[in-house]
Amino acid sequence: MTFKQMFTSSVGKKLVMAFTGIFLVLFLVVHAGLNACIWAMDGGVMFNKAAHFMGSFIVPRILEIGLFLGIFLHIIQGYMLTLENRSKRKIGYEVNYSKGSKWYSRSMAILGTILLMFFVIHWKHFWVPSRITGVEEMDLGNGFIVHNLYAVMQDTFENVWVVLFYVIACISLGYHLAHGFQSAFKTIGVHNKRYHVMINTIGFGFAIIIPLAFALMPISFYLHWVN
């Protein structure tokens, strides 16, 4: 069995989804943790310092390349699998079987598409200005100048439609994680029933806490909970 055969079999294709999915789950923890600095109530100093660290230190920059690779692999493989799986039943049923599974388990591609649309807009809001077109700078004293991404957030989240779209994306993320988190661990082969209970519990907790933390960020700016 070659490496290629392993990852192109029906089980192997799912392994690609699971490994990249778990990697993206880890990224979410880092992203949410770092962004939580906006609630330090210091006018964005701590947040801008943290963002500066992520943007200038070599390790996060290397991980960023891995992140982009992971996201693109997950997206492309996800769409390919969805199309392939749909093609396996040319004639559908008159009455569909919907009681045996959760709607969000059957709708991962739709939830993923909402997330993809979100990513494009999210990158345009923050990643593109920070990396390419440039943003306003902030002097933290002693010649320590950082990008004022905090001000970009304040500015972006003044628009109610943007806030609403971010919240919808966070809800989609929650449902995507509610299925994806536990499914990824099953795909990589965790079959101990006690671990299943543990993973399901952690997965549901994760699917609520992380998207909630993300959703509270635009809401906090819009409602001026942070200044």
Binding site: M1, M6, S9, S10, V11, G12, K13, K14, L15, L81, E84, N85, R86, S87, K88, R89, K90, I91, G92, Y93, E94, V95, N96, Y97, S98, K99, G100, S101, K102, S105, R106, M108, H179, Q182, S183, F185, K186, T187, I188, G189, V190, H191, K193, H196
Partner: protein, 253 residues
């Protein structure tokens, strides 16, 4: 206990042969006792069709006691009908109400082509078993069963997996037409026992390869298969299969 009789409408998929265009036909079925089995109701319909000079509805059935895995109807949007942990042959008419329209469809999957009406060709499952779902045993006297110690939990898990009757309800229920619950049951019951150990790695690789060749979809762990399985095969078997596959891929020569 008094019997209730009911009058029903049966909307059934009719298809003359594998290549013909199929369509639903609705029949009135009168005077059905609620103590009848579902297949007895189908028999009554077929007898009437034969008497009238028509073509009876073709459907698979054999033991009619829930153990052979031949019956295969998709009834009112669920494989094997509305009851849990049940085969079509063990479904009784008391599951339905007087005047109800029952929609009966064949298993739908490219890998299970329709032969006629509700009968589908499930030989893809046989070929998956032929690819590795067996143990090679030398001829000679059978060894004493007690000389092969097996942990109780493993024996129980292996038996639970071996309950799979290969009916194909998992494929019919899955939105991806995936055969993973069937395959995982077959791989699990041999992987858990010492008799299955010598061919353990090559078995899982060959059976997955054959499953892919037969054109079944990938598993997305939605759980529809487990919910409809007449033998309540656990989806944990699929995770075990994934584990077996990953391990065998990395270590088999």
């Amino acid at each position: 206990m008094s019997q209730n009789t009911m009058n029903l409408k049966v909307k059934v998929w009719r298809q003359r042969n594998a290549k013909a265009q199929g369509a639903f036909v609705t029949y009135d079925v009168a005077g059905i006792s609620d103590e009848m089995s579902f297949l007895e109701m189908m028999d009554i319909l077929n007898e009437r069709l034969i008497t009238e000079g028509g073509d009876p509805v073709a459907f698979d059935h054999d033991c009619r006691e829930g153990i052979c895995g031949m019956c295969s109807m998709y009834i009112n949007g669920k494989p094997h009908g509305p009851w849990q942990a049940n085969t079509t042959c063990q479904l009784h008419m008391r599951a339905f109400k007087d005047g109800e329209t029952i929609v009966i469809e064949p298993w739908r999957a490219n890998s299970f082509p329709i032969v006629k009406d509700l009968t589908v060709d499930r030989s893809a499952f046989d070929r998956i078993i032929q690819a590795g779902g067996y143990i090679s045993v030398n001829t000679g006297n059978a060894i004493d069963g007690n000389s092969l110690p097996i942990e109780k939990q493993k024996a129980d898990d292996a038996f639970a997996a071996a309950m799979c009757i290969g009916c194909g309800a998992c494929v019919a229920a899955c939105k991806n037409s995936s055969a993973m619950l069937f395959l995982s049951a077959k791989v699990s019951h041999l992987a858990l026992l010492p008799q299955g150990a010598p061919e353990r790695k090559s078995r899982v690789l060959k059976m997955v390869a054959q499953m892919d060749k037969e054109g079944f979809g990938s598993c997305t762990n939605t759980g529809a298969c487990e919910a409809t399985c007449p033998k309540e095969i656990s989806i944990a078997n699929i995770a075990r299969l994934n584990n077996e596959y990953l391990g065998a891929s990395l270590s088999a020569q």
